[in-house]
Structures are given as structure tokens and as C-alpha cells.
């Protein structure tokens, strides 16, 4: 008789949320969730996966990547030259064909993430107006549970509310917009800067206290007020911030000021590597690392979390909601350029680039990312990311793991980069090696906790049965690039790198409560300034494929 149980037997389990550091244990699964071992010892599992000698971890959680929506799709359109040379994703009896390169097609994205043992991913920058587009693409992106952050840092209604000192209105608007888009948390990208980009040639803001013309607010006010609103709404994740001055020499001062701006509010600083630069404006020769100064602040302030945005050498495609940054990069690399200014205000810039280890700047970017991992005291607050595909593809995660776990490998690679890295960063002096336990934290348990996903990132009863099983290997790239098996919602979706059952995965969204009397104000604003009807904007629940509301009550 069927018991409905699936047992993963005798694996070496890593479950940092429960303090389990490489202990041999059985894991019992039923109805897609991890459950207690049945008390009746006569109950036999329907299926057992023998994991003895293998490493068992929760499924990976990528909390900051770009995998869906208009920006990603424009980048797919723009890079045919990469796809022709890339690995072919060939149709099988149960999988769809696709294309790779730095911006894979939707099905290929799902298969490849799962192939690395990742089972959850969040797109970090979605224009509110494109919410339906993202839901459509997500349904075509299998093997992953997915969610997205909604761009708000240059939204006119947001800036108006801040200017008029109406925090309640701001809070209600944020709640309404997240609920209407079926998003997860507000994303703030270059607050104020994208608006100025639309107003002026090469426009941008360069400091936290610069005035945003027409709206009479400052980037500092935008960050501070949205962060407070997010905490007041008790959203599971904090505000997700792409700070001002990304990529600019000397930007660490802005970054440090930004960290202070959060005060007691929670704040997540995305792709912190790109914001940790010393040096004079526009002068490559003075470019250097300021991780030591910034990490000290993060170490001491438990309200702050970061993901790294590691750079890897090679070709990729930069894509950002930071319109002026896209323009800057396309000029710097003399590459083709896509830009889109979008109502319900956000921007978008795309430019192909190549990170070269002969370049001082690129080599330093690579080193600065690694410094963040190695200098951060608390692995629970530093998350692995490449800001896919900005610093490199998510496919580079196994290589990053090796760089963190294997000091010799790291030092060998350091010898191949621009020699000035030795003087301008502390990387050469860092001897720390990550343990498997710490890797488990920065790739799944930590991001799950930071996102407020109580059923992800751990292997205790009640968790979603998203589990990755690795074959131990001293070569950590090999170990992590080809898991023995990947289980999603209790189903084996990948075995030995082959996709077995590509589940669609579900959408993770929030539905914060708010004072609905604000809707008439929003409607009036919407009809006045936007080109679709207010009634036609919100995404109803029946538009979504499988879904799960994540509760707002963490604080």
C-alpha cells in the first residue's frame, strides 16, 4: 500500500537554520514537504533515495538575478551572436529546446538553474507596468519557484507622497502596487537618478542629498521613507536597494552614507561589489577597493544585508533598471545599447560587455567581490550572487564556491589578474576558506531567511521539499556544477544533470493590507498620467499559475 512517503536516506545533511553541520540523517518527504519521520515504524516509504556518502542541502535560493520581463527579453533579442556560439539546448521528450549565451531563453533558464541545484529565484527589477509579462514568462520558466521585486525608486506617486510628507499614503501605495503586480518587495534603483536621466542629457544624480528636479525630493529621502514603509507593512523582505553611483570610482562614500540612511530600518544592498570603489572621479589609475571600510559597517549593523554581485571574467550582458548606467556602460564599451524609459516610472539599460583579467578595473571588481565574501563576519547577511547576468552568469556559481573554499585555487587565479590588484585590495592577504556549512548559508539558508521565506532554505518539518544532493569532491567546481539529484516539491526534477520532470514551480508574492480608500487617489493619478486604464492594470489571482502568498508578519 502506498504510504505517500519519500525518504532520502543516510545523506550527510547540511541544514544551518537548524544548526545541522554535516550530520548523517534521513529526510522524510510527503505531499511536497519535509515531514517528521513517521512515528509508526511499520510505515515504509514508497521510494527511497540512498544518499549515503552524499551531501544533502536545501535547494539553492538566488535572491538577486535578472531572468524575466521586458529588459531580459530585450537582451535576448539583442544577442543573437552569443547564442550561435553557445551550448545548444536540445528538445527532449519532456523538455523544450532553447538557447544559452548570457541571457538564456526561459525554459533553458529553468533547466540550467535546476541543473545547479537551485530551486528558487527572484528577479530583481521589474517595471510595474510589465507585471503581466513577467507572470507569463515565469510560467514558461520551469523547475523554479519564482518571485520579483517591483521598481519604485523613481515612481512619481512615491516621490510626490514623500515630497508632501505623507508616509501613510506612501505605505498604502506601496502595498497597493505590490498587491496589484503580485510582486514581493519594493526595488529601489538609483533613486532619483533615473528620473533625472529622463529630464536631462546624460542626466543623473550623484549624491544622496541632490535635489530631484520637479519633485523636490532627495535620494536619501526616497530610501529612508520606502525602507520605513516596508518595515511598517511587515513585508517578509526589506526594501531591495541598488544604490546611487553604481560602478563609479569613489562611490564607496555614497554607499556608506546609504547604509547610514537606513537608520534602524531593514535594508538589503544589492550587488554591493559594484558600490565599493575608492578613487577619484573618472580616473582609472586611482581605482581601488573600499571593502574594508564598508564591511566594518555592515558587520556592526544587523539590520543590513548584502548580496555580492561577483564579477567573473568573460563576455556577458549588463542589464539594469538604472537607465543612465546603461548609457555609461555602452559608451565605455562602445557596444550596442538598449534603453527604455517606462511610465509608472522606471528605466532600463542594456549593454554587452566583456570582463577581462588584463584590465585593472575588471580585475579589481573580481577581487572586491571576493573580499566581500571573505571579510564579512556573518555569512547570514552576505549572499552569493553574480547579479546574473551583470557580473557573470549564474552558471558561474560553482566556480565562485571553489574560489571561496579553496585558497590555493584562489591564489592561483589571483596571479593571472592585473598585478595592481595586490596593492589595491586586501585579497592577497585573505586566507579564509569557506566550509560547506557556510556555503550552504550564503547560497540557500541565508537568502531564504533574508527573503522571509520560512519554508525555504532549510530541511526541517514544514519546509518545501526542495533538496539538492551533491557528490563530494575536492574540486568544488565539479562538485557543485553537477548535483547527483535535485528535488523540487518532493519530486526528483534533475538526476545526473538530466532534467527528469520539469515542474512549473510557483509564484511567491505578497498581499499586504492597506487602507483601500487610497485607491481613488491612485486611480485619478493613474488616469491622468498613464496610458492604460487603471482598471486594466492589476493582475488578478486567476491570471497566475501555481502560487503561494507569503505572509507579512515577520517583524
Amino acid at each position: 500500500m502506498s504510504s505517500g512517503y519519500f525518504k532520502i536516506a543516510g545523506g550527510t545533511v547540511y541544514d544551518p537554520i537548524h544548526g545541522v553541520d554535516g550530520e548523517v540523517r534521513d529526510i522524510w518527504i510527503r505531499d511536497g514537504q519535509i515531514v517528521e519521520k513517521p512515528s509508526d515504524s511499520n510505515i515504509r516509504p514508497d521510494k527511497t533515495l540512498d544518499a549515503s556518502g552524499l551531501v544533502v542541502m536545501p535547494g539553492g535560493v538566488d535572491m538577486h538575478c535578472h531572468i524575466a520581463g521586458p529588459k531580459v527579453n530585450a537582451a535576448r533579442k539583442m544577442r543573437p551572436e552569443q547564442k550561435r556560439k553557445a551550448e545548444k539546448v536540445v528538445r527532449t521528450s519532456n523538455t523544450r529546446s532553447g538557447t544559452m549565451g548570457s541571457v538564456p531563453s526561459t525554459f533553458a533558464t529553468g533547466y540550467k538553474y535546476a541543473g545547479l541545484g537551485y530551486t528558487t529565484a527572484f528577479d530583481a527589477a521589474i517595471p510595474p507596468l510589465a507585471a503581466r509579462h513577467v507572470h507569463e514568462e515565469f510560467e514558461d520558466t520551469p523547475c523554479l519557484d519564482k518571485g520579483f521585486f517591483v521598481l519604485m525608486g523613481n515612481n512619481h506617486f512615491v516621490m510626490e507622497s514623500i515630497h508632501r510628507k505623507e508616509p501613510e499614503k506612501l505605505r498604502s501605495f506601496i502595498a497597493w502596487l505590490l498587491g496589484a503586480a503580485k510582486g514581493f518587495t519594493p526595488k529601489v534603483v538609483n533613486p532619483g537618478g533615473v528620473e533625472i536621466w529622463k529630464q536631462l542629457p546624460s542626466g543623473n544624480v550623484h549624491g544622496l542629498d541632490e535635489n530631484v528636479a520637479h519633485f523636490d525630493v532627495t535620494p536619501r529621502q526616497i530610501i529612508e521613507q520606502i525602507a520605513r514603509a516596508v518595515d511598517a507593512l511587515k513585508l517578509p523582505h526589506s526594501v531591495h536597494l541598488h544604490a546611487n553611483n553604481l560602478g563609479m570610482p569613489g562611490n564607496w562614500i555614497t554607499t556608506l552614507e546609504t547604509m547610514k540612511t537606513f537608520g534602524d530600518s531593514r535594508g538589503h544592498l544589492a550587488h554591493i561589489q559594484f558600490h565599493s570603489y575608492g578613487g577619484g572621479e573618472g580616473d582609472e589609475n586611482t581605482f581601488n577597493s573600499k571593502v574594508v571600510e564598508l564591511v566594518e559597517y555592515v558587520n556592526a549593523h544587523h539590520n543590513l544585508t548584502v548580496d555580492v554581485g561577483q564579477v567573473l571574467f568573460g563576455e556577458t550582458t549588463t542589464m539594469t533598471a538604472d537607465g543612465p548606467l546603461g548609457y555609461y556602460l555602452s559608451n565605455a564599451f562602445k557596444s550596442k545599447w538598449f534603453s527604455s524609459d517606462t511610465e509608472m516610472e522606471s528605466g532600463c539599460g542594456i549593454a554587452p560587455i566583456e570582463y577581462r583579467n588584463t584590465s585593472l578595473v575588471h580585475s579589481l571588481q573580481w577581487a572586491i567581490g571576493l573580499e566581500w565574501y571573505l571579510l564579512a563576519k556573518d555569512p547570514w547577511r552576505v549572499v552569493m550572487s553574480t547579479d546574473h547576468p551583470n557580473g557573470g552568469s549564474f552558471l558561474a556559481y560553482p566556480q565562485i564556491i571553489q574560489l571561496l573554499m579553496d585558497r590555493t585555487y584562489r591564489q592561483d587565479m589571483l596571479k593571472q589578474v592585473h598585478p595592481a590588484v595586490l596593492e589595491r585590495s586586501t585579497l592577497a592577504d585573505l586566507t579564509r576558506e569557506y566550509s560547506l556549512y557556510e556555503i550552504c548559508i550564503i547560497t540557500r539558508s541565508g537568502p531564504a531567511k533574508i527573503l522571509g521565506l520560512t519554508r525555504k532554505g532549510h530541511l526541517g518539518p514544514g519546509a518545501d521539499a526542495d533538496i539538492t544532493i551533491y557528490t563530494p569532491n575536492d574540486d568544488k567546481t565539479k562538485m557543485f556544477e553537477l548535483p547527483r539529484a535535485v528535488i523540487k516539491s518532493g519530486v526528483v526534477i534533475v538526476e545526473h544533470g538530466e532534467v527528469r520532470e520539469p515542474l512549473t514551480g510557483k509564484l511567491l508574492y505578497v498581499a499586504p493590507e492597506y487602507d483601500t480608500s487610497i485607491e481613488s487617489d491612485i486611480a485619478e493619478w493613474f488616469e491622468k498620467y498613464y496610458s492604460i486604464r487603471f482598471r486594466n492594470y492589476p493582475v488578478p489571482l486567476d491570471y497566475l499559475h501555481d502560487r503561494e502568498e507569503v505572509a507579512c508578519a515577520r517583524l
Partner: protein
């Protein structure tokens, strides 16, 4: 894949459906109030002349849901026959897709993948060259709401929106009073560039009637002037038919504008130079950002051609002209585009969704299509459905069926159907074909 939505009859006399969406052209106006009486649309408030004829002309057709070789058949029989044709073919193609929902488009591409076929859309015969130019240089663009709120110099190049997109001026590009252009039309300068004086020309402040087939030269003249490169006035006049001083005046205005917008049509993409014309225009818009803010946008025709571009891209990585015969997507316009696969006699079966190649393709392409078995899905009888091995009469998107369409600026908009239909939807028929094709391929 989501469960196909079922079309629910909306009955009761004189119902008004507010904020309904018109899918006739790429404007995708979503502010139409439709009055329905006795299952007929009697009013379409705010719709333009094209929109009104779209809504009024789409009372449900009483043809059979399915015809096999011209004889009435059940949908199930049609699906079986269609699946057999597609799985037995050696070079099957999937084409059209621009006048159906993106939900249906997604299934059509899935069928193309399952049968190792070629997927192409009507983009290949309209803005395909713009898609290729996009691959070459990128695109600096914006949504139409940004044009309405900021655009103060609007250039219409090689198009006649006054007749092809009648509400574009009033809703998006010329008349709206926007945040940074509070006086609407008074705050904007409108410029037309075309080879003939169309109705659009009359709505312009400045009009440049260039020599036919000289778009590329005209655009390079402007690119040169933008960068203060010296050009020969005689040659400019000879090549473009316009005095250099007028081009210089235009360039001065472009540089003085705060947020310039160029909207271009098939007068640019389908004339001599094709994708090189589009590339020149996209490059001009890009160049202008060294001086001010400037954006560019193709004026797309079909209601959901932009959705077709998006869907084909996210599933395969390429926007149109995608061949999957080797098991993975390859892109090569000219090789895998439908007018070519047909005219060269390569395609040996076709799935045609919401398109009418028998009415508008070249003679050799039509002859080939006539000689091969193909399946056609269309709400109306057309020259294409008449010669189809299997013809499905489907419900009309937006009027009878819900779903998503993408406006010309990639903005997704949901449909509010006004009328019930006895016919199946494209999504239902395609989903059934997909299921059967998958079974047969196992």
C-alpha cells in the same frame, strides 16, 4: 500551461463593457466602452473608425467550427487531422500569430518545437528589418505614456498614423497634456518625413517630402549634421530632394528638444535599404542622446504582433524566423522566414494562425502553399482558410476571448471580451493540437 479559458456567454440586453480593449492595431486602446444588445455590439465608445469597424464587423460567424477539405467536421476530427499533417511533414512551418493572444502564441511555439518545425510571425513581412537592426545596434526607446508625458518633438518617419493608427495622435503622441508638456499639442513640434503627402502630413508642423528610396541618405545626412560633419549641400539636395538648410533646421530643433521621439513605419523598413534604414534611424536616435534625450519606436500594425515577438523571443531566444529542425532554435531571416520557405518550395506543411498569406504573399509562395496541406485558424473566411486542408473557425480575440496582448511599446494589456462565441478559441484549438502532436511524437 494554464487551463484554457472557457468563453462565457455574456447575455442580457444592453450590457455595457467598460475599459474594453481594441486589438485592431498596435495602439491597443483599452478605454473602449462596448454596448452589447442581443449578442451584437451596437456601440464602441471612443473607438476610432478602424476600431468601430473591427467591433461592429465581428458578430459571430455562423460557419462550422471546423472544415476538413472544405467539408464540415468536428473540432476533434480537425485536431486529429491537423496533428497528423504536422507530425508527418518533413519541413512544417508555423506562421502568423500576430492577431491572437500571447497565451495562444505560447502554445503555437510549443507546437513548432514539438514538430521540429520553423516558427515565424508576420513580423518577417513588416518590422522584421527593425528587429534585425535592433540586433545590430540596440534601440533607445520608451513606453507611449512617456511620450505623452515628456515628448516635445515628435517625428513620424515613413508612416501614416493618421490613417493606420488613428488615435495615436490624440492618445499618445501629439495631443495629450502630460506632466512635462502641460499644454499638450502647443508644447510639441510635429515633424513628418515621408515620400508622399498623406493625411498625416496635414497634422504636422513641418513636413519633409523626401525622394522615394532616399531614407537612408536622409538619415545619414541627419547623423552627419548631429556630429557637425561637413556635407555637400548639392549632393544632399540631389539625394534626398530636400535642401540642406531644411535638414539643418530640423537638426537644430532636434538638439533643442528636451525629449525627442521618432516613430517610424513600414515606409522605412520595407523600402530600399530595409534593415539598413532601420539601423540608420536607431543609430540617429542613439547619437542624439549625446545632446539631449531622444527615443525611437517602431509603429507596429497588428494588435499583438509585439506579443508574438516577445513570446517567440522568450521561448527560443530569437524574435522571428526560427528553425528548430535540429532540435534547438536557429535564426536566419531570409532562410527561415515564411515568404522564403514557401517561395523556395521547402515547406511541406503549415500551421497558419490568424494570418492570410494567400491574400498577400508572392505568387510563388502562394502556389507552394496551395500545393501543400496546411491548417488555418481564423475567425473569418479568407482566401487562406478556403484552401486549407483543415480550417478552424475560431473566436475573435478581444471580442470573444480573454487573454493578453502586448501594445506596440511592449506593454501587456488584458482583454475584456464583450460577446460570447460558439466557436472555440485559438488557445483551445492549439492546445488540443499540441496535446495530440506530443502523443504522436512519443
Amino acid at each position: 500551461m494554464a487551463t484554457p479559458p472557457i468563453t462565457k456567454p455574456i447575455e442580457s440586453p444592453a450590457t455595457v463593457i467598460t475599459d474594453a480593449t481594441c486589438t485592431f492595431c498596435g495602439c491597443v486602446c483599452d478605454d473602449i466602452d462596448i454596448t452589447v444588445k442581443d449578442n451584437h455590439i451596437t456601440d464602441a465608445k471612443r473607438a476610432c473608425v478602424l476600431g468601430k469597424s473591427w467591433f461592429y464587423g465581428h458578430a459571430a460567424d455562423d460557419r462550422p467550427d471546423c472544415l476538413i477539405e472544405g467539408q464540415p467536421a468536428s473540432v476533434a476530427e480537425g485536431v486529429e487531422r491537423a496533428a497528423r499533417i504536422l507530425t508527418e511533414a518533413r519541413y512544417p512551418i508555423v506562421y502568423g500569430l500576430s492577431d491572437t493572444t500571447s497565451e495562444a502564441q505560447r502554445v503555437a511555439v510549443a507546437i513548432g518545437d514539438a514538430i521540429a518545425g520553423t516558427v515565424d510571425t508576420t513580423t518577417s513581412v513588416c518590422h522584421g528589418p527593425s528587429g534585425m537592426a535592433f540586433q545590430g545596434v540596440g534601440e533607445v526607446t520608451c513606453t507611449l505614456g512617456e511620450v505623452a508625458n515628456r515628448g516635445d518633438l515628435i517625428i513620424f518617419w515613413g508612416g501614416n498614423p493618421a490613417e493606420s493608427h488613428p488615435r495615436h495622435f490624440s492618445k499618445y503622441s501629439l495631443m495629450p497634456k502630460g506632466m512635462f508638456v502641460p499644454n499638450g499639442r502647443k508644447d510639441r513640434t510635429a515633424v513628418g518625413v515621408d515620400v508622399r503627402k498623406t493625411k498625416t502630413a496635414k497634422a504636422m508642423d513641418l513636413f519633409f517630402q523626401i525622394k522615394p528610396r532616399s531614407d537612408f541618405e536622409a538619415l545619414w545626412t541627419l547623423r552627419a549634421l548631429a556630429k557637425s560633419v561637413e556635407v555637400d549641400p548639392e549632393q544632399v539636395k540631389r539625394d534626398t530632394g530636400i535642401e540642406l538648410s531644411r535638414w539643418q533646421d530640423l537638426m537644430d530643433r532636434m538638439k533643442a528638444a528636451k525629449f525627442g521621439v521618432i516613430l517610424f513605419g513600414m515606409g522605412l523598413t520595407m523600402t530600399r535599404g530595409k534593415h539598413l534604414n532601420s539601423e540608420a534611424l536607431l543609430s540617429l536616435a542613439r547619437d542624439m542622446n549625446a545632446f539631449t534625450r531622444f527615443v525611437v519606436k517602431p509603429m507596429r500594425g497588428h494588435g499583438n504582433v509585439t506579443g508574438a515577438d516577445n513570446v517567440v523571443t522568450w521561448q527560443t531566444g530569437y524574435p522571428f524566423g526560427v528553425n528548430m529542425s535540429r532540435g534547438y532554435p536557429r535564426f536566419n531571416p531570409g532562410e527561415y522566414t515564411t515568404s522564403d520557405t514557401l517561395a523556395r518550395g521547402e515547406a511541406d506543411a503549415a500551421l497558419l494562425v490568424a494570418c492570410d498569406p494567400m491574400a498577400n504573399f508572392s505568387q510563388p509562395a502562394r502556389e507552394r502553399l496551395q500545393s501543400i496541406p496546411y491548417i488555418a485558424l481564423d475567425p473569418k473566411e479568407t482566401p487562406t482558410t478556403r484552401s486549407a486542408a483543415v480550417a478552424f473557425t475560431t473566436a475573435t480575440y478581444g471580442i470573444n476571448t480573454p487573454g493578453t496582448v502586448y501594445r506596440m511599446d511592449d506593454v501587456p494589456i488584458y482583454l475584456r471580451p464583450a460577446l460570447s462565441s460558439t466557436h472555440p478559441t485559438d488557445l483551445e484549438v492549439l492546445s488540443a493540437i499540441h496535446r495530440r502532436v506530443t502523443e504522436l511524437k512519443k
